[in-house]
Symmetry: C2
Subunit: 163 residues, 2 copies
Amino acid sequence: MKNKIIIEPIGVIHTPNKEQKGTPIQPRGAKGIKGKIEIFKKFKGGLLDIDGFSHIYVLYYFHKIAETSLKVKPYLDDFEHGVFAVRSPKRPNKIGLSVVRLVSVENNILHVENLDMLDQTPVIDIKPYIPDFDIFEVDKIGWLNGKSENCDKIKDDGRFSNE
Amino acid sequence: MKNKIIIEPIGVIHTPNKEQKGTPIQPRGAKGIKGKIEIFKKFKGGLLDIDGFSHIYVLYYFHKIAETSLKVKPYLDDFEHGVFAVRSPKRPNKIGLSVVRLVSVENNILHVENLDMLDQTPVIDIKPYIPDFDIFEVDKIGWLNGKSENCDKIKDDGRFSNE
């Protein structure tokens, strides 16, 4: 197996979230936060027919996180959990995942809403969000039981910031 | 912005899907396909409390895809679409996303079900799947309207294979 995979950003997100502290922790808590995903010109052809979808996955790189950790205390709990059992940014590969609302497409710009990403975040993939593919009935949500519904109330308190 | 991001696999997926042709195209079509996600020992600490979740996102690298393309003809349609409007593997950054059922955890091994990945696929992240974070009501699904429900019937026909 290759032990290094090279990823090239396909674009950049422009959002009003200028610093970690105060940024919503999930799209669910980012209602009405509007911005733009600028897809670099060389990848523009890949946007054909994206305008048919109301929601898209954005995969991105947590560019402001310098360190990673295998155990982290997430926003929604007072205890540490393994990093693969939380959605915090301080992960071995600093890849973030958000489902945002796609409002319109203009040339190489996606106008989007519900943005929980920091301004200038590099984008590494866009995928259409498709209920038949992406909605699953779950049996259990571990430490988030009784807590996950607070994801729209809590903001980033800066705990993962290096600045 | 950094124009190269380096990703290091955190593990590898062991599945019965030995070749592209015949592999399910989505977890929804992979019911009962069981396998293991082996998390490399150095990342084992990140699994703490993952056993509380019934479903997890697996982010992985399409290691069998040599070329990428901005326009692709997906499995579920006879027409080409932009690669960011489809879920096909032939993408600029070859990152795949599947929600699988987590059955049990044994040391650094996740026993999982509903696997639409090829055997030996490198894993780059694991995140818990949380309905409050991840389920969205959509208005439209573009070219997949009337087609997405067939994702459990159609298998990979080998069109993205290089072999």
